[in-house]
């Protein structure tokens, strides 16, 4: 009986065996507590990559077990291995070992929510057919018991071919030790005998697998039979050789008749599941939960809808009142750092590159972080507490009016703070067309970067008078918000009616129970979002900021520099004290303005002036708008420089300067129609490199960001033109 070789393993080989890491795939339903379990098992020892060719993220982490470790792949949440969405297809490909660049896992860790055992068993049953060792992490047994349902673990294990089931509480770590030990043993754990839930199909599948010889397993043959459109059907056709397609079609006709095979599969599996549930679920007296009645009342349609708007109002309040001081701090720190560098280095290209290029570039990336982190903190807490699904449920009807579903409501609302987290939040939308339509509509929402420009222009040019009950300035601001919403709504309708035409997507969602989020999980998710933003969007924003700096800096005119030096010397000789400082600042601002005027940016403004003159923009405004394309708020700094009041000037000085700016023929540049057109241009235009970079990242192609940019720029131009010409 005893294998002699096994008895005589040399000591050094044991060491080698210990270090051999095996990979385990973590699979589970959405809301099964899977991501909390993953974060709990791997902590900070995780990395995020992308699966080849798709935008779905691959989360891989290391789980230390004693003095060895194993690799855990967190697969996208899925209800079945039927390959309907991109996420499901990835999960199927990984567990079958078909994913390029990802070796087939040595075993499966199935995460099952004890409250949702009915749905969880569906996936679990499919996982048992993989011919891989399986361990189950059963979460939320405490909550199930409170609701009056206890689960007989031993009976459940028996029903599932004797696999190991570890009840765990991810938030406290209870049961994790046993689970880790089971994971470490997975490669030597026996493959479970899958329950034969549907003998008719499994027999035919076994025959087909035999006919396909080594190229097809019984499970793959079964999936090929059931998912006629799926990738495994094609694989089976190839494995069976000529006539394979006809053979499969004949088998399907015989097994399923005119019923969709998927429907029959669901019937058969749930028939088996109901039997298992009856066997393993034990009724226990339910616990009266504190606040349960209150929660139930709050969950009723009207209170829920009212509190939804209250919650969103709170989120916005927090984003604006917490992020603004932090953004000012970052701004101040950047300016102080730049001043420090400028004091040390002699003025010239290097100093300007460091201060206006690198420091300003890094600043324009980091300045987004407070908003993104605060917004995501709220979104993650709302998601983990089960509230986001509820919000989607409440808002579905309203969103359907614009051709979208309730799942688009949170990305849209988040975009009022910043389109970057808004677009990143579209991942919850399962339908790809819906998701892209939402991404295309999101940049229209009035983000916080538009506000400084609105504030400057409205304060300077819109009369501060009352119109009935309303202040005209406030009305204009409100109108700009409405314009953004209108632009987004019309864009979504347009997209869903043309390029993204398709059947009205269904709104099918499992609503999770409300629960208190795990702070560890929230922190790790937040870290992940920040990392993605800095890595993927940050690099592009930084690069673009450097390009804008170079355009505004080069070429330098030596004549202007000489003039400045002469002027400074003359002022130093004639003036002293505060008067000298004022004069020096004036001279410097004048020189900066002159340099900018003949820089590539200034030349671009002049070259483009004929195109923008019908909008009432002179070359200065044109240059400032061009410079604002990578980041719209930059426009104010450029206006400050070009009107020789300095790029850090206060609003009153700049506003006064703008009010007196004139065309060469003496006409005022900033007339009310021109300003309104400029504001509308800002409301409609996609002037944000970060948004473009995130759109590219989330859609996986440049097609959508490029078309959004062209479309929104054209829209902004035409609207500004119409206002200026008609008014």
């Amino acid at each position: 009986m005893t294998d002699k070789a096994a008895v005589q393993i040399p000591v050094d080989q044991i060491g080698v065996r210990r270090q051999a890491r095996h990979t385990v795939a973590l699979v589970g339903n959405p809301n099964s507590g899977k991501s909390t379990l993953f974060n709990r098992l791997t902590g900070l020892r995780q990395k995020t990559a992308n699966y080849p060719g798709v935008t779905v993220e691959k989360h891989v982490g290391t789980v230390p077990v004693g003095d060895t470790s194993l690799e855990l792949i967190d697969l996208p949440g899925t209800y079945a291995l039927s390959a309907h969405s991109m996420e499901e297809r990835i999960a199927v490909d990984v567990v079958l070992g078909h994913m390029p660049g990802t070796a087939r896992p040595a075993g499966i860790l199935a995460c099952v929510n004890a409250n949702h055992l009915y749905q969880g068993l569906y996936l679990l049953q499919q996982l048992l057919q993989l011919e891989l060792p399986v361990v189950v992490a059963l979460t939320m047994t405490d909550l199930a018991a409170q609701r009056g349902v206890a689960i007989d673990i031993q009976r459940l294990s028996n029903a599932l071919g004797g696999i190991r089931i570890c009840p765990i509480v991810p938030t406290t770590g209870q049961g994790l030790g046993a689970l880790k030990a089971a994971l470490a043993d997975l490669p030597t754990t026996a493959v479970p005998q899958a329950p034969d839930y549907w003998p008719a199909v499994s027999q035919v599948a076994a025959e087909i697998a035999r006919a396909g010889q080594e190229a097809l397993t019984a499970l793959e043959a079964e999936r090929a039979l059931i998912d006629a459109e799926g990738p495994l059907a094609r694989q089976a056709e190839v494995a069976l050789g000529p006539g394979g397609q006809a053979q499969l079609a004949a088998a399907r006709r015989q097994l399923f008749g005119d019923q969709p095979p998927m429907a029959d599969e669901a019937r058969q599996r749930y028939r088996w599941i109901r039997q298992v549930l009856a066997d393993v679920q034990v009724q226990v007296p339910p616990l009266k939960r504190l606040g349960a009645r209150w929660l139930a009342w709050l969950n009723r349609p009207l209170p829920a809808t009212v509190s939804f708007f209250a919650v969103m109002g709170l989120v916005f309040q927090a984003v604006f009142s917490w992020a603004t001081p932090m953004m000012d701090l970052i701004d101040g720190a950047g300016a102080a750092l730049a001043a420090g560098v400028a004091a040390v280095l002699p003025s010239g290209a290097l100093a300007s590159l460091l201060t206006d290029g690198v420091i300003a570039g890094v600043g324009s990336v980091v300045i987004f972080l407070p908003q993104i982190l605060i917004l995501f903190l709220f979104l993650i807490v709302l998601e983990d507490s089960g509230y986001l699904a509820r919000a989607a449920f409440l808002m579905d009807r309203a969103m359907r009016a614009v051709g979208l579903s309730g799942q688009s409501v949170i990305p849209m609302l988040a975009s009022f703070a910043c389109a970057v987290p808004g677009i990143m939040a579209t991942r919850v939308i399962p339908d790809r067309k819906d998701r892209i339509a939402t991404i295309m509509a999101a940049p229209f929402m009035t983000c916080s970067a538009r506000l400084p420009v609105y504030a400057l222009m409205i304060a300077a040019f819109v009369p501060n008078t009352s119109l009935g009950f309303f202040n005209v300035q406030g009305l204009v601001l409100f109108g700009l918000y409405l314009l953004g919403i209108l632009g987004g709504v019309l864009t979504a309708l347009l997209m869903k009616g043309t390029a993204l035409r398709g059947p009205t997507p269904s709104f099918i969602l499992t609503l999770p129970e409300f629960s208190v989020p795990d702070w560890r999980n929230v922190a790790l998710k937040l870290l992940d979002r920040a990392r993605i933003f800095l890595k993927r969007a940050g690099t592009i924003i930084f690069f673009v900021a450097l390009v804008v700096w170079a355009l505004a800096y080069f070429p330098r005119s030596p004549a202007i520099a000489e003039n400045l030096a002469a002027g400074q010397a003359e002022a130093a000789a004639n003036l002293a004290g505060a008067a000298l400082d004022t004069e020096l600042t004036r001279l410097e601002n004048q020189a900066a303005s002159a340099q900018l005027a003949q820089s590539w940016l200034g030349r671009a403004g002049r070259a483009a002036e004929p195109a923008f003159a019908p909008l009432g923009w002179d070359w200065r405004v044109t240059a400032a708008v061009i410079a604002g394309f990578p980041a719209r708020e930059v426009m104010i700094a450029v206006l400050g420089t070009v009107y020789a009041v300095g790029d850090e000037s206060d609003e009153q000085t700049l506003a006064a300067r703008l009010r007196s700016a004139r065309w060469p023929d003496g006409e005022l540049v900033f007339t009310l129609p021109m300003v309104l057109g400029l504001l509308v241009f800002y409301a409609l235009c996609l002037q944000c490199a970060a948004t473009l970079a995130v759109m590219r990242r989330e859609t996986g192609t440049w097609r959508w960001p490029v078309s959004a940019w062209l479309y929104m720029t054209a829209l902004g131009y035409l609207a500004a033109l119409a206002i200026h010409q008609l008014a």
């Binding site: 409250n115 019937r267 449920f393 409440l394 269904s506 969602l509």
Partner: protein
């Protein structure tokens, strides 16, 4: 009864057992994978404002779907008296 009851006909708090499913709708197939199959008892919890979408409870799980899909599930009422 001349007209067949569907999930869409339930009032909040009422329950039904699924008898027959119109499987021609692709969304319905997804709902079947989520557990809405024949012989399953389903309770209508509540609807969002305007009566759509609807929230159902199936074996302790809350599933939301639109009214037009709820119509594809023919049911018989189960009267709960407790």
């Amino acid at each position: 009864m001349s007209t067949q009851l569907t999930l869409a006909d339930l009032k909040p708090g009422q329950s039904g057992r699924i008898e027959h499913i119109d499987t021609s709708d692709p969304g319905v197939l997804r709902l079947m994978v989520l557990g809405l199959v024949e012989d399953t008892p389903v309770r209508f919890t509540q609807a969002a404002i305007g009566g759509d979408p609807m929230e159902f409870n199936v074996f302790g799980i809350a599933i939301s779907l639109r009214r037009e899909q709820a119509r594809k599930f023919a049911i018989t009422r189960i009267d709960e008296r407790d």
